[in-house]
């Protein structure tokens, strides 16, 4: 397991630099939007990665509630943290692109709003984990993750209807993607997935060690209490 880590780190670095070269230099310039469009190679892979991490968070939370397995809890925590980071990247790069292309920073479009609501739900999940004083934080967090996942289809339909009533200036995905662009997009997605995996892995190991240290400390203070008596 441990030997895989540097290999993954090297693969990630290579993929990220190759993806950067492809996105900024090799990919053809988009006809109407110009160079601004290149942010798309970072925006879309981040979004896909964030959604995948939130999906893993949901599965890990359900697993935790059924099996009460500490590994599933750590996995849920780690994927929520890294997912929020990627989701933030999506929400920051989106407006940077939208301003020159649509002329506005933000619109209450279906996908934008859904991403924002997801971000809000997972930030509240992380806050619960941070502020919880109970030893049962994993249970509370897993339950909240399930509520968040149940909320997603409802948010989707409510905004879908809201939007069909108030059309917004969205150009949408009319037309097909140039195969060259799709190729760059996929390379960048692979790079981002490796990066997410790498960060999650590091964070996972850190959390395991952290919990071991805490356990050892509480055991030590228990033993000291025994000795002094």
């Amino acid at each position: 397991m441990k030997r895989g880590f540097p290999i993954l780190a090297i693969v990630t670095a290579v993929l990220l630099s190759f993806g950067l070269y492809e996105a900024l230099i090799a990919a053809p310039t988009e006809r109407t939007m110009g160079d601004v469009q290149r942010i798309f190679y970072y925006h879309v892979p981040s979004a896909w990665t964030a959604f995948l991490l939130f999906l893993i968070n949901f599965v890990a939370s359900v697993t935790y509630l059924i099996r009460r397995n500490a590994k599933a809890d750590i996995l849920a925590m780690v994927t929520a943290e890294v997912g929020v980071v990627f989701c933030t990247v999506v929400l920051v790069t989106g407006p940077i692109w939208a301003r020159p292309v649509w002329g506005i920073w933000w619109t209450w479009d279906l996908r934008l709003t859904l991403t924002l609501v997801l971000w809000l739900i997972y930030v509240s999940y992380l806050m619960l984990r941070r502020f919880s004083t109970s030893s049962q934080t994993p249970v509370l967090a897993a339950v909240l993750a399930i509520f968040g996942a149940l909320d997603v289809p409802l948010v989707y339909f409510s905004i879908w209807f809201f939007r069909t009533q108030h059309p917004s200036p969205v150009i949408g995905d009319g037309g097909s993607l140039d195969p060259r662009m799709a190729h760059v997009l996929l390379i960048n997605w692979a790079a981002f997935l490796c990066l997410a995996w790498l960060v999650c892995w590091t964070r996972y190991r850190l959390e395991v060690v952290q919990r071991e240290v805490e356990e050892a400390q509480s055991l030590e203070s228990l033993l000291e209490g025994e000795g002094s008596r």
Binding site: L65, V117, L120, I121, V123, S124, M127, L128, F131, S132, T133, S134, Q136, T137, V139, L140, V143, L144, I146, F147, G148, L150, D151, L154, V155, F157, S158, I159, F161, F162, Q165
Partner: protein, 224 residues
Amino acid sequence: MSFLAILRATLAKDLLLEWRSKDAINAMLFFSLLVVVIFSFAFDPTAEESRRIAGGLIWVAFLFAAVVALNQTWARELRNQVLDAYRVSPAPANPLFLAKAVGNFIFVSVLEALMTPLFVMFYKLRPLGPAWELIPIAILGTWALVVNGTFFAALSIRTKSREIMLPLLLFPISIPALLGMVNATSAILTGEESAKFWIALLLAYDVVFTLACLLLFETILEAE
């Protein structure tokens, strides 16, 4: 004790406590009164404008006021270790949850019944759509707020600064319900479109989250 007996006993106890102290209802009433007055000053709307914004204002005022009642739902039970006693007793968890949710539903409904005439007066409201549809919207919308609110209050009593934690957990999840209530109310006030879709959405929200709360409440109650 049977399911219904526990539900009835807990509900009667909470209603009696509230009837004697009137803590929650007074705080909620005064709070939403302040919201009405401040919004009215801030926007100074004409009759036509207020039709468009009133749906949002009413529900935001009720949502914020409801947090007051929701926050004290479980706090009262912590003081004399009532929850611990409940946990060790063989009584099922769900009637306790339902009693608390129904209690909050009653408190918030009373608040709405008292505040709505004031809203109508201050904002010169006269619905142009089918006004009777406001009743199912109010019932479904209030239940949507209190069912999840009661559940998340049980989550947030296990955290530091729990009074702040409840809205932080409740508001993001409640976004579709709020969209439903606000848009359904606005649709009826302006009479421009049908509120059917939003009522259906609220119904779906209520069914999904009531089931989720009933399935998961025992896990939360036992988590200590």
